[in-house]
């Protein structure tokens, strides 16, 4: 609850910054605020609190909130320039902070209304952010597409909630669990579960509800794309898993087979489409779709180890993504192009950028000793324990395709002729972010228990 209060307060303060003219102080204030939020959230670890049956700050909520706060902290450091360049800085700060509130609600709800509220708080802010580069047609199109399709998906989510309410007579997760178990062969229950799943699948960009992702990711400002790929994705999966593990773990027969097919389709579409992409941004967008497929394996194979697998995967994936998007941001601003060719031969003049990008790509591809390896390993482990060997086999083949396109970037950096020897300027904040993300990626790859031990 501390998290929600601090984040909301920060958001409101940000709105006043324009009026009371302390815009310059806002950025350090927000970093400080996030640090404070992290501290007070962490204090709630092992002290679960329930608020009116609406929110339940159990360890699951605390750990995922902390993960989201760390990612958001790194994201703010990475995205500072974005706020400086835009006119309506404070609005953007406020929007991001409010969307973080939505994200925290999404990981701590114990009531379907709160889930819906969380998703909408998060989504509406991000719709606006996606369109925040007002002079850019692509950005406008991106925001509009996201909004249009998002509303469409929200409709199904609400429909699902309605059906579930109709059968169980409750929004409360615990009573839904018992009621669903009692009425498990009811067609309305099945339809409700499926519609809820479709709504959440849209937010997590699982195929065939992923079509918005590549277009929106590409059109939005790179910093916003980063936010969508990291914080939004983490929150979406945390919510997905929280809902389904609490309410529908007893009726897996109704939904796991559908999700199984969605995972296979997502892995196929995400990885195979990325192969031909010339733009690194679009490549990362498809890769983000593909990673959603891997994470969803742990949801399909719901078991004791799924929670830690999802936590480890979303957190390490977010860190590597921030690394990759930061470098993309720096390079594309310098070269004026987001294509892979912009990265060619940059290794000699930019050793830090090249190394950080390589580590990020290796992690996303799942090569040891980076964190991405264990991320896939633990997800696959849940699947094998649940008997989904075929799914693991498919996922491994998909990962092979993944190696192809991630390595294209590494090859461009190291093995293509040098384009220019002028080092690309990297600001101190970006430098710090890259050093932190690279070290964390390697550290978690060597000592995965640093994350797994918490949950």
């Amino acid at each position: 609850m501390n998290t929600l209060i601090i984040l909301s307060a920060l958001g409101i303060i940000a709105l006043f910054a324009e009026i009371f003219r302390f815009r310059k102080a806002l950025f350090p204030l927000i970093l400080l605020g996030l640090g404070g939020a992290f501290f007070f959230t962490a204090k709630e670890y092992n002290h679960p609190q329930i608020f009116l049956g609406m929110m339940n700050f159990d360890n699951y909520a605390v750990i995922f909130s902390c993960a989201i706060l760390i990612i958001a902290f790194l994201w703010f450091m990475m995205a500072k320039n974005y706020f400086l360049q835009e006119t309506s800085v404070t609005d953007h700060f406020a929007l991001i902070l409010f969307s973080l509130v939505g994200a925290v609600v999404m990981v701590s709800f114990s009531n379907l209304t709160m889930l819906f509220l969380g998703i909408e708080i998060l989504s509406v802010s991000v719709y606006v952010l996606a369109a925040s580069d007002k002079s850019n047609v692509m950005s406008n199109e991106s925001g509009f597409k996201y909004f249009l399709m998002g509303s469409f998906a929200t409709g199904f989510l609400l429909f699902g909630i309605t059906l579930i309410y109709g059968i169980t007579g409750s929004f409360d997760l615990a009573s839904i669990h018992t009621q669903v178990a009692a009425n498990h062969d009811s067609g309305l229950v099945i339809a409700g579960i499926l519609l809820l799943m479709i709504g959440l699948a849209f937010k997590s960009s699982l195929a065939p509800f992923h079509f918005w992702a590549p277009d929106v990711y590409e059109g939005a400002p790179t910093t916003v794309t980063t936010y969508m790929a990291t914080v939004v994705k983490t929150a979406a999966f945390a919510a997905f898993f929280r809902l389904f593990s609490t309410c529908f773990a007893g009726v897996t027969g109704h939904w796991t087979d559908v999700l199984w097919w969605m995972v296979v389709l997502t892995l196929f579409v995400g990885n195979v489409s990325a192969v031909r992409q010339k733009s690194v941004k679009r490549l990362l967008a498809y890769s983000s779709v593909a990673h959603a497929g891997y994470i969803a394996i742990a949801v399909v194979s719901m078991g004791a180890a799924s929670t830690s697998a999802i936590l480890y995967y979303t957190f390490t994936y977010s860190i590597s993504s921030i690394s990759a998007f930061t470098i993309l941001f720096i390079v594309s601003r310098h070269k004026g192009s987001k294509d892979i060719s912009a990265f060619e031969g940059m290794s000699k003049a930019n050793p830090l950028l090249s190394f950080a990008m390589t580590v990020a790509m290796l992690s996303l591809a799942g090569i040891p000793p980076t964190a991405g390896f264990f991320a896939k390993y633990y997800v696959f482990l849940t699947a094998i324990n649940a008997g989904n060997t075929l799914l693991v086999l498919i996922a491994v083949i998909a990962a092979l395709v993944g190696i192809y396109y991630y390595f294209r970037v590494i090859i461009a950096i190291y093995f293509k002729p040098e384009q220019q020897l002028v080092p690309i300027k990297v600001g101190p904040l970006h430098r710090t972010v890259l050093i932190i993300t690279t070290i964390l990626t390697l550290l978690f790859g060597l000592f995965p228990n640093l994350i797994l031990g918490w949950i």
């Binding site: 597409k145 249009l148 399709m149 469409f152 998906a153 199904f156 067609g187 099945i190 339809a191 499926l194 519609l195 479709i198 849209f202 065939p208 509800f209 079509f211 918005w212 590549p214 277009d215 109704h254 559908v258 579409v269 195979v272 489409s273 990325a274 192969v275 031909r276 395709v401 192809y404």
Partner: protein, 630 residues
């Protein structure tokens, strides 16, 4: 005292690390002092061990190593009389050769790296003999192989030297595979590779156990590779490509005797398998005679010594095969003295003649290189088995046991011994007597500096008197050497139950016959090369059949090439060019192309039209609901 012995290998290792890291930053003389100094410390410790070890067995555990399930291995060193003798040989002779190298390698640009490699070699060799399990021995075994490879190819800019290094490495791999399989079988049979466990359990087995026979034969394959026995001996003559101190240290005194050490260490296992013992003896004697016949006609001073080494190693295996374990180890020791001396003497000659190795272009060096000449003469007398030089005692002990084991071994042994005397004196006479046959104007033969001659003198003293530690009882001695090693081989001797000594009278008579035979050979050599001043014919002259076969080493290299190398090349070429390039790569590339093509198709799905996206969503939802509810 004994626990400090565990430090013995780590001084050379420290030397290697210092020299390897600093390399060119160190002045040459400081590098040499470090390398030699480290070895001197090890030698001091080894001496301490040697003085205190009599009748004792100590295990010193350094660190745990591998612990997986029921499998465990640790870094533990074993100190007993057998390992202490090898420690003395390795550090003592090794130290002398290090000192000699200061002079020999003085002008080489890779001087410091040379010493680093030598130190590393000593480290691995010490690990090999100090190990208390087969697994740890294997670490040293592979390590010395690596150093041997690095040092044979030390002057890697010459392709032939590189080829020699690769040949040595590959030949050794074949042996190592056998050795490794043997170790694995040991694990399966005894659940451990620790000597203590293995030997204790083996002691309870009956003679003739099939598994033991398999294990010992596999281990012997490893010994054949490392100690250059038929059919894996061809690498050793080629290994002479390395600098001469390397030939002396690795390819005469120490590494090539690792096979002897290993078989001797496993004495109890071999004692349980009469079949393996017979194989060892037969391979040993055949190699001894075969290599000696090749050495008769070689003209390269180092090649003669190389074949001589193969031949002498054959004698050692003969000794092991007939159950004379301590006699073989005795011969390892005396051989280390006189063969190292011969190689270093040859190095001195090569050094003095600015790189000339062909004995046809030598002669009359007696006056120009007096110290080299005298020491070489003493070593030659020792290897020829003339009493009272060291080789006489060790070789005769082996031949004496061979006589008890079978007349044929003894007869062949004496024939080999005659040839040994002949080719060694041929070498001596051609190089040091007569008149100089090289180009006087180009090459000014000179004696080597003191740093090289002093090790020669010390080794000469050892070659002369080194045999007195093992004077047999039949000659009024007390066989101290055998008594020193008796505790190590006690169980093995007990298993064989033979060891019946021949009558003392006949033992002395046998010695008389071998010495007389050697003397006759020396006379023939003198008659031919000093009196008649015969010089081996130059290249290209047609030789009589037998001489030709010997000169061309029975075309063994050519036979191996035709039977093994070339067919393997063909198969490898087929697998590489056709199976891999066309078939496997074809599948890989096709799957890549397919993915790429599908990816191209996928782009048409991502149209950018929201209405299409929404349609896809709706179709997806409809399908899901339809299949789940209908």
């Amino acid at each position: 005292m004994l626990q400090y012995a565990a430090l013995i290998p780590f001084f050379p290792l420290a030397g290697f690390i210092i020299l390897g890291l600093l390399n060119k930053k160190l002045p040459k003389n400081i590098a040499a002092v470090i390398a030699c100094g480290m070895l001197l410390i090890s030698f001091g410790l080894a001496l301490g061990v040697f003085m205190n070890i009599s009748g004792k067995t100590e295990e010193v555990q350094l660190a745990p190593w591998i612990n997986v399930g029921s499998f465990s291995a640790s870094f533990t060193f074993l100190l007993d009389p057998l390992s202490s003798i090898f420690l003395m040989i390795i550090t003592g002779v090794g130290f002398l050769i290090h000192v000699y190298s200061i002079g020999y390698m003085h002008d080489d640009e890779k001087h410091n790296i040379f010493f680093a490699y030598l130190n590393l070699f000593i480290f691995f060799m010490l690990v090999l003999v100090l190990a208390s399990s087969y697994l740890l021995m294997f670490v040293g075994w592979e390590g010395v192989g690596l150093c041997s490879y690095l040092l044979i190819g030390f002057w890697f800019k010459t392709k032939a030297y590189n080829d020699a290094a690769k040949k040595a490495f590959i030949m050794n791999r074949i042996g190592d595979l056998g050795f490794l399989l043997g170790i694995i079988l040991l694990f399966i049979t005894f659940g451990s590779s620790d000597y203590h466990t293995v030997f204790t359990k083996a002691n309870g087995l009956m003679s003739g156990d099939t598994m033991i026979t398999t294990i010992t034969l596999l281990l012997f394959v490893g010994a054949m590779g490392k100690s250059a026995q038929i059919p894996l001996y061809t690498w050793l003559p080629d290994a002479m490509a390395g600098p001469t101190p390397v030939s002396a240290l690795i390819h005469a005194a120490t590494m090539v005797t690792a096979g002897i050490y290993m078989v001797a260490r496993s004495g109890i296992l071999y004692a349980l398998s009469p079949v393996s013992m017979l194989v060892v003896a037969v391979v040993g004697i055949v190699t001894a005679v075969f290599a000696a016949t090749i050495a008769l006609t070689q003209n390269d001073i180092k090649k003669v010594l190389a074949y001589s080494t193969v031949s002498q190693l054959g004698y050692m295996f003969l000794g092991l095969g007939v159950g004379a374990f301590s006699a073989s180890v005795f011969h390892v020791m005396t051989h280390a003295f006189f063969k190292a001396l011969l190689f270093l003497g040859a190095g001195s000659v090569i050094h003095g003649l600015s790189g000339e190795q062909d004995i046809r272009h030598m002669g009359g060096l007696r006056k120009k290189m007096p110290i080299t000449h005298i020491t070489f003469l003493l070593a030659t007398l020792a290897i020829a088995g003339i009493p009272p030089f060291s080789g006489f005692f060790s070789k005769d002990e082996i031949l004496g046991h061979a006589f008890s084991a079978g007349m044929v071994f003894w007869v062949l042994g004496v024939i080999g011994s005659m040839m040994t005397s002949f080719y060694m004196f041929r070498l001596l006479f051609l190089a040091f007597y007569g008149t100089y046959r090289g180009d006087e104007h180009k090459v000014h033969a000179h004696e080597s500096p003191k740093v090289m001659t002093i090790p020669l003198i010390i080794l000469a003293i050892l070659s002369t008197i080194g045999g007195f530690v093992g004077v047999p009882e039949s000659l009024g001695g007390s066989a101290n050497f055998d008594k020193f090693l008796e505790p190590v081989f006690h169980d093995a001797y007990a298993k064989m139950l033979l060891m019946e000594h021949s009558q003392i009278l006949s033992e002395v008579a046998l010695m008389g016959i071998t010495v007389a035979a050697a003397a006759i050979s020396i006379f023939f050599a003198w008659n031919m090369y000093v009196k008649k001043k015969t010089v081996p014919v130059s290249e290209g002259t047609r030789l009589p059949f037998l001489q030709n076969m010997s000169y061309h080493k029975y075309y063994v290299d050519e036979i191996y090439s035709a039977l093994i190398t070339k067919p393997l090349d063909k198969i490898s070429g087929f697998l590489g060019n056709v199976v891999d390039n066309k078939f496997i790569d074809g599948i890989v590339n096709a799957s890549g192309k397919l993915t790429n093509w599908v990816s191209g198709l996928m782009r048409f799905v991502q149209t950018g039209n929201v209405d299409f996206y929404l349609l896809a969503m709706v179709v997806g939802i409809a399908l899901i609901i339809f299949f789940k509810l209908m």
